[in-house]
Symmetry: C2
Subunit: 450 residues, 2 copies
């Protein structure tokens, strides 16, 4: 297999005290991380010094779970942390090069607000904003927005398809050079370079224009995470980065080929999209140290938390099923379909008990777990990158700040020695660093009703 | 009249290049201020060094005006500037004491999002967030959110009344000491200290809880700006700061007595609310210098801009009416009722022509204009403060950064010499500096449907 000419992209996916479900209990994490700006400022600066392409923040507009006992034992189910856009706007003041990607749902937001806030973040950061577009699948989110149930999967994606087009159109409200600011003439902007959107669609009517100048990047980078059929289709048409969970090399290569293969049908080049699966690295100077680190975290998983998380990730009801027994069958849900299938296939393939499966997934929540020395972890990342199973990785440190420090000081130097990762930022904007072209301004006419 | 025991509060109301409608054309302003983070960081630090209680940012979710020629000649009608919450989150990283007040409308937002973002800002800033609650009256805003017209005045205020209660309830989702973070026990928060809201009302159904710990201030400070009957009623029940436009001393004293007099009916003490009218100071070292400064700005008002702004502020159609003629009668609008009445009364009282009136209001847009030496300006502020026409002022610098520098270096030292303004911050949070008590946590039961 030929070595790739490009280098891998790396995201630093920040969760309050780390991605391991029990991280907050571990001394390498900070227990009150979720609401400590000093913690996040330090993480952002560590990641920037290490050359990460971007910071990545997930989001949820409700707590996740009705089992209060389980919920009260975890820090990572959106129980108490910063809202991501405000946090990234804060971090934009103390960083200069690293990209800032926040999650915002298309299900309970208005496209005008989303377009405006990300455009604002792009201006605040000098062109470093990215929007991770998700749909909301948790009924508890619906209850916070006057709905009695969450939208069905197909309906959610239909709304997302239209939402992203409206947002892109709003970002093009002004041409790049519209603001002439001619003091002598008294002309602040050229009215011929302002375009209303006049969008009338199935889900949204938005006249526009957006009242923010065109973002420095043209459009903030659009990130997506869906791996369902509808998710892949939306991504092939509109995404520029995909964050995904692929457990095996074969799955990763198949997913990569599948999504990139769909792009030509939308007039896009495969390089217009960077596929960055999650990777959960537990780094030790020796294999033994790495295994010990991982073991220490696993030992901190409370059984109540493990079972509850498995129930939620797989969309199954475990009540009455013992920890040592097999994982029961599950009805197909409207929620995260792809993750459910992935987990149940894994359990069947390896004959896992409920405890086995929750120990397997509770830590990294179904993401690719890498436990080992910097060399071994670099080997695994390199293999998947060169096999075209990934264009890079969204690094999910098990603990924070400890796990990010480990990756930055131990793994990244090894990737750099191999020529797989940058030693200095190539550009000023997130697009420049990711190697994504800047979208040309498009004049939008009124959209026709479908 | 006895001198007051308390000191005046001062807000720094930041508009991109200044509040004067032609500010962006003046050399003391920065023409591209609206999207320059360096400009805002500098303003925030100047204001903090001067001891201002808070930064104040207005907002609008559309451009304001259909007359493209007029619109393209101004920088202040929300044509191209940062979204305020992202901007304040950014500024929270480079300031330590000054309050951060952003406007967010109750008309086209969801209470869950508003509660969450301001709670997040309060955590990011260590207790310095404030929410300026407004309703949206411009039809162009409605068009950006799938509506064919804006909500009627009464309906907007009914929605706002319920909205603010839902937001306050969400801020009380967790008790102050809910997050125990007991690593040994594996208990992140005490489930007995988490309270869902279970709100079911006329306008909103919100189950909650909010997924953010209780804000450092308990509740971010609630600011309001409405001066209509419905606005005053809402403010007397829920506001902690009022930003208002009162042109004369008599009007200011009457408004102050009116609103404070309504508070007892809601079980509130008059000191629980600070009334801070806008003040537009043009400062010169001599009267002549001040008048020249003002004149230079007034000369920069393009007639197209002046007429258009007057049409919008007063809700009247001037077409066919010459600049030198009288101001025509106007139909009562659903928009900013109080401002319309104020302007038309002013025109009748002083017999102003259209040009006279637009020159009068275009600069400060109907706010109290003070042109003079630091001494004279301090006299006027002191008089209004001591007459109980105000608890402080929201300072609207004509140009930025120039006008803020003038006020900070020339007027504030004079106020300090008179003992009217602090020389050092009293506290760490906005509430502490404003002298507002921290609200105790309230357990909310399910709200009854009206």
């Amino acid at each position: 297999m030929p070595r790739r000419a490009d280098q891998m992209r790396l995201g630093a996916f920040l969760y309050p005290g780390g991605h391991h479900v029990a991280a907050w209990r571990h001394p390498a994490s900070q227990a009150d991380a979720g609401i400590d700006p000093v913690h996040y400022r330090r993480l952002a600066q560590v990641a920037e010094r290490a050359g990460f392409d971007l910071l990545f923040l997930a989001d949820g507009v409700s707590i996740r779970g009705d089992d209060l006992d389980a919920l009260s034992r975890t820090a990572i189910r959106y129980v108490g942390q910063f809202e991501p856009l405000t946090l990234l706007a804060h971090l934009s003041a103390v960083t200069e090069r690293i990209g800032l990607v926040a999650t915002a749902s298309t299900t309970y937001n208005e496209p005008f607000h989303v377009a405006r806030k990300f455009a604002s973040l792009d201006h605040l950061s000098g062109g470093r904003a990215g929007w991770n577009l998700v749909t909301s699948a948790d009924p508890r989110e619906a209850y916070n927005f006057g709905r009695e149930s969450h939208l069905a999967h197909a309906r959610r994606y239909a709304r997302a398809e239209e939402f992203v087009d409206v947002v892109a159109g709003l970002w093009d409200s002004f041409e790049d050079d519209a603001f002439v600011r001619d003091r002598a003439e008294g002309r602040f902007f050229d009215p011929a370079k302002l375009h209303a959107l006049d969008h009338e669609g199935e889900h949204f009517s938005v006249r526009g224009p957006l009242n923010v100048p065109r973002p420095p990047q043209g459009h903030p980078v659009v990130v997506q995470a869906g791996s369902s059929e509808a998710g892949k289709s939306l991504a092939a048409r509109t995404a520029e980065v995909i964050f995904t969970a692929q457990d095996t090399l074969a799955d990763a290569v198949a997913f990569y080929a599948d999504v990139k293969g769909r792009m030509e049908g939308h007039g896009r080049h495969p390089d217009d999209l960077k596929i960055m699966p999650g990777a959960f690295p537990v780094v030790g100077r020796t294999e033994g140290e790495a295994q010990d680190k991982y073991g220490a975290l696993q030992d901190l998983i409370h059984p109540v938390v493990g079972r509850s998380l498995l129930e939620q990730l797989a969309g199954i009801d475990l009540s009455g099923h013992p920890d040592d027994g097999p994982v029961p069958e599950a009805p197909e849900t409207e929620g995260g379909k792809s993750r459910q299938a992935l987990l149940l296939t894994l359990a069947r393939r390896e004959g896992l008990t409920i405890r086995d499966l929750y120990l397997r997934v509770a830590g990294a929540r179904g993401h690719w777990t890498l436990v080992g020395t910097p060399d071994r972890i670099a080997d695994a990342l390199q293999e998947r990158f060169e096999a075209r199973g990934a264009d890079g990785f969204n690094i999910m440190p098990p603990t924070l700040p400890g796990g990010l420090d480990d990756f930055a000081t131990l793994v990244i130097p090894e990737l750099q020695r191999r020529g797989l990762f940058r030693t200095a930022y190539e550009g000023r904007t997130l697009r420049e660093n990711l190697g994504l072209r800047r979208p040309a301004h498009r004049r939008h006419g009124p959209a026709r009703r479908a």
